[in-house]
Symmetry: C2
Subunit: 119 residues, 2 copies
């Protein structure tokens, strides 16, 4: 039989998208724009965080490994252990210039930056 | 170190949402409305398929275990081993009447109907 991968609290992608992302000192870093899913395993690999810009113009998008996002019920958003200054050096892309997700070297860059390992 | 759960082909949730769902004889069953994610594991547990209605009115929503959806590149959509008639007896909800995802018995009903097991 096919497995259904549900062991904990279930949330809708519609509720994740738009949720604010904070750093550990409570500064707003951005908000979740969309999720990047591993088609084969059905795992959420990355959450794309958007910030800056006005009415979607000039926005910058940062892919964050899903595992670095911790939901904080008091904040009502995700908390990431990342300073604003660090974010400036983080892998990012402009609106309309989405990375090629088939490019495994882009993923290596993300893993190296955030100190995560491939599972 | 935190793991990043990426082993295969990556797709954006924005691309999954709106994708047509077919049965094995090529009939359109509906389209993906949103994804239901296990917050703890980061796994996509269910895809909510919508069908019927007009301009979002009178739509019915069917939660499908992610594992029963197979992407078919020729069809350009997901294929599910389910007849239209079977869908009429499947767990579903109306717009604005989303199930309580904390209710584990609702999940049991879904697993029983689709013949999937909890992982």
């Amino acid at each position: 039989m096919e497995p259904v991968q549900s062991t904990g609290i279930l949330i809708s992608s519609a509720n994740v998208e738009g949720t604010t992302v904070y750093n550990r000192t409570g500064d707003t870093l951005g908000s979740i724009h969309e999720l990047i899913i591993d088609k084969t395993s059905g795992h959420v690999a990355y959450a794309i965080m958007s910030f800056g810009g006005f009415l979607g113009m000039g926005n910058q998008y940062h892919p964050l490994p899903w595992s670095v996002l911790k939901y904080d019920t008091n904040m009502g958003g995700y908390v990431v252990n990342l300073e604003k200054e660090q974010l400036e050096g983080a892998p990012a892309f402009d609106a309309g210039a989405e990375p090629d997700w088939r490019d495994r070297s882009y993923e290596s860059k993300l893993r190296d930056f955030y100190g995560v390992v491939a599972s």
